[in-house]
């Protein structure tokens, strides 16, 4: 069963990469697919802002409390550690990690998560971010599942950076920074759509994404038009 979902996932992601795709939308798809393939409760993708912090780029849900849980890990938490060490971090029981990351664990436990994994996103010898998995049951993921998770993290990295084009760290910086700013534009556009239609932030995101798809527009471009007042959703 999982083999089939996995095959579908790679076909779908490969399809996306062929076109002139939108980075935020692509990473959102990766995180949705990860939830399905890996059987975990929630996923977040964080990237370095190259100034000493991690920023949330995508998540399996746009629920504000969940985004904050990822964002708290700017400098403390499993993601920060996976990023700084370049190694996968496994926390089979969050309650036992309270001394290590007090703010992160209390927030995670409040949201009903009891275990987590953080995997580094690497481009050759450089770590550019992390893939964060949350579970509602204690324990470690099986080795095989973790390998699949790392493969998905690698696909996300390749897609994000259009790796063939990355010859210099300058190109890397250009693409990373453009992607991070696109994410900020999406947040601003979520606010516009939420206020205009009386929606929650997760519904506002779905509405934006739906409008981009049905109008064959890139999500970030549509979001910019919405914030600048030249497009309506």
């Amino acid at each position: 069963m999982r083999d089939q979902i996995l095959a579908e996932t790679f076909v779908e992601l490969a399809d996306t990469l062929v076109d002139d795709f939108d980075v935020v939308d692509f990473l959102h798809q990766v995180s949705m697919r990860c939830v399905k393939v890996l059987g975990v409760a929630a996923i977040g993708i964080l990237l370095t802002d190259q100034r000493g912090r991690l920023q949330v780029m995508a998540a399996s849900s746009e629920r504000s409390r969940l985004l904050e849980l990822f964002q708290i890990q700017t400098n403390q938490g499993p993601c920060a550690e996976a990023f700084h060490t370049g190694r996968a971090i496994a926390v089979p029981d969050l309650a036992e990690a309270a001394d290590r990351w007090p703010r992160f664990t209390s927030h995670a436990l409040n949201e009903g998560f009891v275990a987590t994994h953080a995997l580094p996103m690497r481009l050759r010898a450089t770590v550019i971010g992390t893939l964060n998995l949350f579970h509602t049951e204690k324990g470690l993921l099986p080795e095989e599942t973790l390998r699949v998770a790392q493969a998905l993290a690698d696909v996300a990295t390749i897609g994000l950076l259009q790796a063939r084009a990355i010859r210099h760290h300058e190109t890397l910086a250009e693409q990373l920074q453009t992607a991070l700013n696109s994410r900020v534009i999406i947040e601003q556009a979520k606010g516009v759509v939420a206020e205009r239609h009386g929606l929650g932030m997760d519904e506002a995101f779905d509405r934006l994404r739906g409008a981009a798809r049905s109008g064959s527009r890139r999500l970030s471009e549509l979001a910019r038009a919405v914030v600048e007042g030249t497009g309506r959703v």
Partner: protein, 251 residues
Amino acid sequence: MAAAVPLGSGSDRRAWAWTRVGLQSRGAPFGIQHVCAAAVDDVHVDGAAVTLMSSPSVWETLHATDETSMNLEDRQLDLGEGPTIDAFVHGGPVLVSDVDSPEARARWPIFVADASANGVRAMFALPVQVGAIRLGALNLHRSTPGSLNTDQISDALAFADAACALLLAEAEGGTHTGAADDIWHREDHSAHQGEVHQATGMVLVQLGVSAEIALSRLRAFAFRHGRPLGDVARDVVERRLRFNPDDEEAG
């Protein structure tokens, strides 16, 4: 496999950049000229300029450390091509380690010939922006070709952030003192940054203004009430606080 290295880690570069800007201002109120001077010293370039842009053809150079910097800005505006314009349009940095490379010549044929004739060999344009709010760019140039290393890129980005913080503080209506801690505290350094951007979008609709003005109003409100920007943003997102176009004050 060799140990993987995190990109742009270590201490928070933004705080470090402020310290460097402070050294340039020597106790005077912070200005764009101090950001430019710090960028020249710390990124090891020959000149820096900050240009305000409202479109690829409407802009004003606020400060340039040298004549070459000023000329580079003017020429791009005249010609309608160049790294600054691309940084503005694409919303990301444009880092040109060699203006004589075939890629650079193909991309900006007239401008790079001109820059090269004026002794410029590398140019780095960093957008000054917050999402869809595009304020302008910090532009650096050097008379020798070559890439910025990863630390220099981090520093250049942090100086662009400093320029952004300064311009946003000024947009609030001149209440800031120009002191480092004043401007620094107006930024939000917590985990609430997503909510600041969401609240900007909401206030934009509530007031019927641009995103830039919406963010200024949020920041000014937080400052007047002595509250962190992230907390005010959360109140807006959770619909406990609304901004009314008829009131100076939100609520």
